[in-house]
Structure formats: structure tokens, C-alpha cells
């Protein structure tokens, strides 16, 4: 999906860039800030950052594409991150993903038509004791079974 929205450097991002400008190796920290502002890294912002920091765009994209954490596509309003780390895998993390795909009618790394949800598979969020787990909007749901999912989705929808 190609976005037509206009993205501008937010004040928060601009001041973050100022704070980090002189520090060597600042690029990854700045990209983290950018992603926390927009939910992903819009092309326009990548270009702007390249200009402000005097870093070639190729280098910025090189870094973004190397690291799984950075996204080039806009995720759903609620990005559902399902853990498929070892502990969650053993305890049925994949079943959780498959059930979500059925419930939401969309696959991993894609967004529902209404833009509300996207599903992502992530490797371990450190709550292995509660496996299988998923993370939505910073909230962790643990000891999941497939039957818990419709309610979780419905609650988020109502927010």
C-alpha cells in the first residue's frame, strides 16, 4: 500500500536530532525516535533526515533494512505482535498467528482493509514464562489460548 499522506519532521523529532547531532553513531537512535513518532519510517522522513544529518540516503536505507525492528510500511493502528520465540513456539505461538489471520482476514505483515490491525511475528519479548504471548499497543497478553483472541480483538476495537 503506497501512502499518500504527507509527513513532516515533528518538533519532538527535530529536538531529538539536535540533541544527538554531535554524537558519533547517532543514526540508529534517531531512526528509533522517528519510528516512535510515525509508527514506521516514511520515505519522506528518511530523505529529510539524510539531508539534516548529511548522511547518504543509501546508508539510511541500508541501516533500516538491516534491522528487523524498523518498518518501511505503515502498520495498522493496532499492531499485534505475536511472539514466535522458542518458548512461545513450543506452546503454540504459530496457532495464535493462524487464528488471528482467520479472525482478521489478513496475513502476517499486512494491514486489515480498515487500517485498524496488522499482525507481526516477533522473536521473544522476554515474557517466556507466560508463553504464548502477544503484544498490542504496549500491553502484553500471556498464557493465551486461541479462544482468548476474539475478546482481545473486540476490546481493542472498542477503544
Amino acid at each position: 500500500m503506497q501512502t499518500t499522506e504527507e509527513y513532516k519532521i515533528t518538533d519532538a523529532l527535530a529536538s531529538f536530532v539536535e540533541k544527538w547531532r554531535e554524537k558519533p553513531g547517532n543514526l540508529i537512535m534517531i531512526l528509533h525516535k522517528a519510528q516512535s513518532e510515525y509508527g514506521f519510517i516514511p520515505r519522506k522522513i528518511a530523505i529529510e533526515l539524510g539531508r539534516i544529518l548529511d548522511v547518504p540516503l543509501a546508508k539510511i536505507y541500508g541501516v533500516i533494512t538491516f534491522y528487523n525492528f524498523f518498518k518501511l510500511e505503515k502498520p495498522g493502528k493496532h499492531n499485534i505482535q505475536v511472539c514466535t520465540g522458542t518458548a512461545c513456539y513450543l506452546k503454540g505461538g504459530i496457532d495464535i498467528i493462524e487464528e488471528l489471520e482467520i479472525l482478521l482476514g489478513t496475513g502476517v505483515n499486512t494491514v486489515t482493509d480498515d487500517g485498524l490491525f496488522s499482525i507481526e511475528s516477533v522473536r521473544c519479548i522476554g515474557c517466556c514464562g507466560l508463553a504464548p504471548v502477544l503484544l498490542i499497543d504496549g500491553e502484553i497478553f500471556g498464557k493465551l489460548s486461541k479462544d482468548d483472541l476474539p475478546k482481545i480483538i473486540a476490546d481493542i476495537r472498542d477503544r
Binding site: 547517532n26 538491516f66 534491522y67 522458542t86 512461545c88 513450543l90 506452546k91 522476554g126 507466560l130 500491553e139
Partner: protein, 613 residues
């Protein structure tokens, strides 16, 4: 507040020792919160208010280690043993106030054993405890967002000694004497690592804490940072004083927001007191600390890749030597240690290297923290002296396998390690013994598997992980991981041939020898250990086209027993691809050409009519 002096610090320590109040301490690590600890916290506050009780402090703490019964709380009453309660929801919280606090009666059914003796403020440790907590000494005890509580529990004594009593050679000697070996996986002696950096003349040196914790299924470092961030900060300064570094970086994975937040709070607090920053405690030692975030790349846990990442680049490893100890961050000598390694340091300096060296085995000193997960009853964080057997952890502390299933294997070392069968459960845990039996210590992930887990599937899982995480710089790893994965996939589909096993072994051996970094060198370990330890099961997949655990979808078929099926239609309605035919009260049938083998019909049938074969 102006920076404090040594006298102020000592006073602060005395002033904050135990008060007379009753303390209700609530485990509020990431997973505690996920299990509802916030609500439990509020329930305690409300109930205390309703009952108009005085002199009760309710406070948060980090992981107590009993992750399987979260939310967990401890009730501390001076002069009485601590009581740990698990599964404390709001209702139980009210009960604890009304029965335990008000009436002095314990609340049955929620009480859990204290896992370990407190090594702080105690002279004799009761040997009855199964665990021994050095790294986790403050986790589940202090409020990690309150520096005074850390200080009151001997916090920053190590730094005090390092600044006022010990020379940098003395510090090094204590660390060497302790026998501490790196907890990040490789087990390199920490003292020697520091010595390399110490010996080199340089205008700038760095101390880096590796908090990338990439092994999926491990969370020891997260729990340590969330529960006791100051111990790592203090240790990094001690290392700085020892080797002559005045800058530190904590490289932490972005997936750990709470650990990052608590580190930031801790750093701000130590700065405010003048325990971090310029001229610490009025001495000429200064230390500057900064957090850098990882971004979801397992390879960045490898030290040269980590350095590239901190420098703002793609995290690709480079050949060693030169080692980071000599040529590290921005080309300067750099000590890189793991979170858990650092968390031992303040205790080693405070209690002495020889105190530490008394714990553990001859070549592996101290303790090790494990994240015990998978098919295990008491899933959680455990810290045991080196030399404890796997059996003791899995069946003693871990309580064995749930749901009456049979134990199959325990995996240590994550994507770099191996599986161990029942025959090896008596292996004492230390760096060398685990390698000798075909696995490795790793960073502390310990995953238990039961009869329902297919070992070919597990091997495939780890390989897939390595395919995704290989940085692609060198061919043996980039191509090898992919090829082995494809062969395993073939085997799991029942298309495997006997010669495939030899191919896997040959490629694995080549990868171990020729890969540039540890990721590629160790990526074949899980599959090689599976082939060795579970040869029969692997051969079954190849020769008999059979998966005994029923996990390899291509090797199972779902059919409906025409006798048993009563025609309730439940399965037909549940089947996601509508491939089950039949009318009410008529035996149903599965169209095998459409079935995706999701197993839904098997799960929902109440009449045992769906057969898996």
C-alpha cells in the same frame, strides 16, 4: 542536590536500612504487569485504605522468579520470615490484607517457598535452599526505581572500595581471584578480558554492557535490569576504574521498554547523587554512561557486530583479532561484558574474590541464572550454584513436566546450543561439562520439551531462526543455514533421504569451521545434536514417513471414524477450509485434497471420532 561525599553515602546506607513497617512487595517486572500486577497493586492500596491501616508500605519490585504464578508478592514483617504469595489477583489481595495483615493468619493455597537465602546482610546461608542468588540478590526485594533501597542493601560499596581502598591492580586481582567467567555464552574469564584492556595505553577506553539478549526464550538480562539496574551501573564504573575507561555504553534491545525506562531512571538518580558523572564522590574518577538501543538483530549480540551497531552502522561482524579489548568502539580498547557478568561484580568487590570462588565448581565459579521455560510446571527464573544438575533444575526446582506428559529433552544455549536427553540429566551445570555432552551453557535459556514436541520440528525452528538472522556477510553461514533448513524441511515433509543426514553433517562441519562469526559457527549445533540424540525419531521421518509427535503436518492425516461419528456437525463448522462434508446425524467425511491439517476438527470433536495418523 549537590554531589555527595563518602560520609553522606555511608549515612544514606544506614538511614535506609529496614524500617519497622510491614512491607507488601509486588513483583512488577514486564511479565508481572502482563499478569495483572498493576491491578493487584491498586487492590492492596484500596483495601489498606478501607481498613484504615497504618504503617504498611506497598511497593513495586522486579521479578521474584516465580513467573508461573504471577502476580507474586512478598509480605515482610520485621522479626518474622518473609511470606511469598503467588497468583495474587484483587480478591486474594483483599484476603491477604484481611486475614494475614489484620488477623495474623496465613492465606492458604497461595503460599510459595522462598527460593533462596538473602546473601546481603546475612552471615550464614541456609543450605536448605535450592537456589543461590547473587545476580538476583535484589530482584524481588528492592524497588528498582529507588536508589536509596539499592544503597541500603550494600549498594555502591563496591564502587566505594574501588575508589578509596583498592588500586586498579587490586580490583583486577579480586576479579581474577573470583574466577568469574563471562555469562554471555562463551565463558571467557572476565579478569583476563579486563587485563587486556587495562594494559593498553590509550587516550580513550570504553566499557560496554551487552544487553542485547537475543536468544529467543531467555530473559535473565531483562529481569536483572528491570529488577536491579544499579548493580549493572555500579559494575560498569568499577570496570571503568579498573581498566582506565571513563565512558560506558549499555547496548540494550529495543524490545525491552521497561528495562530501558528503569535504567534511565537509575542513571538519572545516580547522576543526581553524584555517583555517576564527573568527579564521583569527590575523587578524580569520572564516568559517563549512555544507553544505545538495538533494533532486532540477533547477530548484534556478537561483539564486533554490536560495535558496528553502536557506531550507527549495519551490524555486521568483522574477523577477530583484533579483539575489542584491544581495538573496540571507534577503534579504542573496549571491555564488553554481559549484563549478568556485570551484576556479579559489585558482590565480588564487596565480599572479595575468594568469597565468590568458594561457590560453584573448580572451573566454573559462582552461580548461573536460567530462564526455565517450555513444558515445565514451575516456569521462571532460577539462579543456582554452578555444578547443580540439570535434573535438579528440571524436576526439583522446575517441578517436572505438566499434564502428566513424559519428559523428552532440555535445550540449553538457544540457537547455538543443543538438546539433552534424559540420560544426560545428571550432568552438572558448568561451562565445560555441558560442552562435553554436546550442548553449551549459552546465556541461560533452558527450554524443556515433552513427548508432544517433534525434534525435527525443533531443529527446523532453530535453523529458520538462523536463516533469518544470518547477516549474510559470509557464504558458509548464509548458504549453509539455508541449505540445512531446506533439507530439514524436506525431511519434515516425508521426502527426506538417508543421504540427507550425511549432507547435513558435512555442511554443518564446514559451517563450524569456516563461518566468520559465532552465529554461523554454532548455527548447525541444534540440528547436529538432534540427529545424534534422536536418531531414531529422525530416521522415522525419513524411512517410515512418520512423525511420532504429530507435529510435521505433511506426515499426518486426519480422518473421521465412521463408527464413532454421531454427525454433530461441530467439526464441519469449525473447519477453516470447509472440507468436511456431512449432514446432521450422518457420519462426516474429510476431503483429503483440501485439508490443510490444521487439527481444528480433532480439537473440537467430543466423540473421539477424528483420528490423527
Amino acid at each position: 542536590m549537590a554531589t555527595i561525599t563518602l560520609t553522606d553515602l555511608k549515612k544514606l546506607r544506614e538511614d535506609n536500612k529496614e524500617s519497622e513497617n510491614i512491607h507488601i512487595i509486588i513483583g512488577m517486572g514486564t511479565c508481572g504487569i502482563a499478569a495483572g500486577a498493576n491491578k493487584t497493586f491498586d487492590a492492596f492500596l484500596d483495601e489498606i485504605k478501607v481498613n484504615n491501616l497504618k504503617n504498611i508500605t506497598v511497593k513495586p519490585t522486579g521479578c521474584m522468579g516465580l513467573c508461573y504464578v504471577e502476580p507474586t508478592i512478598t509480605v515482610k514483617t520485621s522479626g518474622q520470615p518473609d511470606i511469598i504469595y503467588g497468583n495474587v489477583n484483587c480478591e486474594t489481595a483483599c484476603k491477604i490484607i484481611n486475614e494475614h495483615i489484620v488477623e495474623g493468619k496465613l492465606v492458604e493455597g497461595h503460599i510459595f517457598e522462598n527460593p533462596a537465602a538473602d546473601i546481603v546482610n546475612t552471615e550464614n546461608y541456609d543450605s536448605d535452599y535450592k537456589q543461590f542468588r547473587i545476580v538476583l540478590r535484589n530482584c524481588g526485594v528492592i524497588d528498582p526505581e529507588n536508589i536509596e533501597e539499592y544503597i541500603a542493601r550494600d549498594g555502591y560499596i563496591g564502587l566505594e572500595k574501588a575508589l578509596f581502598e583498592l588500586s586498579s591492580d587490586d580490583i583486577l586481582n579480586e576479579v581474577k581471584k573470583s574466577g568469574l567467567r563471562g555469562r554471555g555464552g562463551a565463558g571467557f574469564p572476565t579478569g583476563f578480558k579486563w587485563e587486556f584492556t587495562k594494559q593498553i595505553e590509550s587516550d580513550q577506553k570504553y566499557i560496554i554492557c551487552n544487553a542485547d539478549e537475543g536468544d529467543p526464550g531467555a530473559y535473565m538480562d531483562r529481569a536483572t535490569l528491570e529488577g536491579d539496574p544499579h548493580s549493572v551501573i555500579e559494575a560498569m564504573m568499577i570496570a571503568g576504574k579498573c581498566v582506565g575507561a571513563d565512558k560506558g555504553v549499555i547496548y540494550i534491545r529495543a524490545e525491552y521498554p521497561l528495562a530501558i525506562e528503569r535504567l534511565e531512571i537509575a542513571m538519572a538518580q545516580s547522576k543526581r547523587l553524584g555517583l555517576l558523572g564527573k568527579n564521583i564522590l569527590g575523587t578524580d574518577f569520572s564516568f559517563d554512561l549512555e544507553i544505545r538501543l538495538g533494533a532486532g538483530a540477533f547477530v548484534c549480540g556478537e561483539e564486533t557486530a554490536l560495535l558496528a551497531s553502536v557506531e550507527g552502522n549495519r551490524g555486521m561482524p568483522i574477523p577477530k583479532p583484533p579483539f575489542p579489548a584491544v581495538k573496540g568502539l571507534f577503534g579504542k580498547p573496549t571491555v564488553i561484558n554481559n549484563v549478568e557478568t556485570f551484576a556479579n561484580i559489585p558482590v565480588i568487590i564487596t565480599k572479595g574474590g575468594s568469597w565468590f570462588a568458594k561457590i560453584g565448581t573448580e572451573k566454573s565459579k559462582g552461580t548461573k541464572v536460567f530462564a526455565l521455560t517450555g513444558k515445565i510446571k514451575n516456569s521462571g527464573l532460577v539462579e543456582v550454584p554452578m555444578g547443580t544438575t540439570l535434573h535438579e533444575i528440571v524436576f526439583g526446582i522446575g517441578g517436572g513436566i505438566p499434564n502428566g506428559k513424559a519428559f523428552k529433552a532440555v535445550q540449553t544455549g538457544g540457537p547455538s546450543g543443543g538438546v539433552l536427553t534424559e540420560a544426560f540429566l545428571d550432568t552438572p551445570i558448568d561451562f565445560d561439562s555441558l560442552v562435553a555432552v554436546g550442548s553449551m551453557m549459552g546465556s541461560g535459556g533452558m527450554i524443556v520439551m515433552d513427548e508432544d514436541d517433534c525434534m525435527v520440528d525443533i531443529a527446523k525452528f532453530y535453523l529458520e531462526f538462523c536463516v533469518e538472522e544470518s547477516c549474510g556477510k559470509c557464504a558458509p553461514c548464509r548458504i549453509g543455514t539455508k541449505k540445512i533448513y531446506e533439507l530439514l524441511d524436506k525431511i519434515s515433509q516425508g521426502k527426506g533421504e538417508l543421504s540427507d543426514l550425511q549432507k547435513i553433517k558435512d555442511m554443518g562441519a564446514a559451517m563450524q569451521k569456516a563461518s566468520l562469526c559465532g552465529l554461523g559457527q554454532t548455527a548447525p549445533n541444534p540440528v547436529l545434536s538432534v540427529i545424534k540424540a534422536f536418531e531414531e525419531e529422525v530416521l522415522e521421518h525419513i524411512n517410515d514417513k512418520k512423525c511420532r509427535a504429530g507435529k510435521c503436518k505433511d506426515l499426518v492425516t486426519y480422518t473421521i471414524d465412521q463408527e464413532n461419528c454421531i454427525g454433530c456437525t461441530v467439526c464441519a463448522r469449525k473447519c477453516p477450509v470447509n472440507c468436511i462434508e456431512g449432514a446432521i446425524k450422518v457420519a462426516h467425511k474429510i476431503d483429503q485434497s483440501l485439508c490443510i491439517k490444521c487439527g481444528a476438527c480433532f480439537e473440537v470433536c467430543k466423540f473421539d471420532a477424528v483420528i490423527v495418523s
